[in-house]
């Protein structure tokens, strides 16, 4: 069933009012009629099967038929902090990362980030990013749309990371050291509803200085397999492994 993420202001008791792009999608793209059903997701993560009661070009009204008791969210909260990569790689990370269950994304300006985003570009980019994660959330039947924070400096990132239960960064050099803890060991430390902060470098990875700073701030270095991954593949490896560990590894 088609699914729409509907902002809080659109909910009024059992009545939901959808406007703008999603109204257009319901009316013109899907050509739904009164009596058809879609799923509406509330920003709090809940979702309801709703009946269309009035379909217009500008506005669609729906009535809640049944609240769903489903969740496909990861049992832990995962934030992906991504060193600004080149080109449109961040688009791929946001789309695939949303499918794979990330709770939020933070782009950050790393020492080896080749691109610098000026303030003019950021607003336009953030709009596109929001659209990407919303559509990926709908497609993958997520209960929540991940949050995308504005690009941060490393020091803002460190401050932001303080509230997380476990913090890791992808660092192949470090992983060669004998006393490092494996990614598996670190995931085993996490319990349901706890939070994990995953920090991925841009092309070229972290500088030794950044790695030292991260370690000083209680980030654990991890290896994501022995092969050298492109920056956009690292976040996807981490998220797929987290899903596998918490959602599919059970033995039955």
């Amino acid at each position: 069933m088609q699914r729409y993420f509907v902002p809080e202001s659109a909910w009024n008791g059992n009545i939901v009012t959808i406007k703008d792009d999603d109204a257009h999608h319901i009316h013109r793209v899907m050509r739904f009629k009164e009596g058809d059903q879609v799923i509406c997701n509330h920003p709090d993560g809940s979702a309801a099967i709703c009946n269309l009661i009035a379909v217009g070009s500008d506005e669609v009204r729906l009535e809640v038929e049944d609240w769903l008791n489903e969740s496909v969210e990861l049992p832990i909260e995962v934030t992906i902090a991504q060193g600004l990569p080149k080109g449109d790689k961040l688009d791929l990370i946001l789309q695939k990362g949303t499918e794979l269950g990330a709770s939020s994304f933070i782009p950050f300006q790393a020492e080896r980030s080749v691109v610098v985003w000026d303030n003019k570009k950021i607003e336009k980019k953030m709009k596109r990013f929001s659209k990407i994660v919303k559509e990926a959330s709908e497609q993958s039947h997520r209960n929540k749309v991940p949050e995308i924070k504005s690009p941060m400096t490393m020091s803002a990132l460190l401050k932001e990371s303080q509230k997380y239960d476990v913090k890791i960064f992808a660092y192949e050099e470090e992983a060669k050291i004998v006393d490092f803890q494996s990614f598996g060991t670190l995931l085993n430390k996490l319990k349901k509803d706890q939070s994990l902060f995953v920090c991925i470098g841009p092309e070229g990875g972290f500088s030794p200085k950044e790695a030292e700073t991260l370690r000083d701030n209680n980030f654990y270095p991890v290896r994501l397999g022995p092969r050298i991954l492109r920056t956009e593949t690292a976040a996807l490896y981490a998220l797929a492994s987290i899903s596998y560990h918490f959602e599919e590894l059970r033995c039955n």
Copy 2:
């Protein structure tokens, strides 16, 4: 160090002769000179540090300095059979699948594949695909370049799959059945050097008839997390989980 996959015919005792694109890359792109070092990978999976002894536009000669004792190949052999997807999604699957350690790829014509490849296109496509996996192998420091088989029908695919130790297919409907075995349980069945066949449907997944055929041929249905993944994300989820399971889950 820069790495090149060199065909068997180029090796003669301790001397390696590189021609064509790679010679151009060494000479014109990297501007290496006599005395510089690169890593040459032999098709058998071994690799050597080599000294450049003669650099020309058409041909480069190297001498083996030291054989490397390294392997970053997955401990099990994984074949990804991918239902033909739309657009250039197969490019992404081949590039990321190579980074993540796949041994071979088999595109196949699934019931719900929207595209049909005619024979004229296949040759051109296969050439591009070979280039993608070779470059991704060099970039990710693989010991071997994955093989890409020509597109198959479902019946040819079933025949091909017979020699594998464990066979799975991504099927969310099936995963809702109570007695299914989790992806983790199935990976636990595999020992070092055994082989796994992973079959992924195109957009829209497998038809119920295809799912029945696969099950009749000893394929296990698996769920790749509870979220709905796009077809190109499914192969990457499977490979990342396999790497995590066999290479990173160890507890130390």
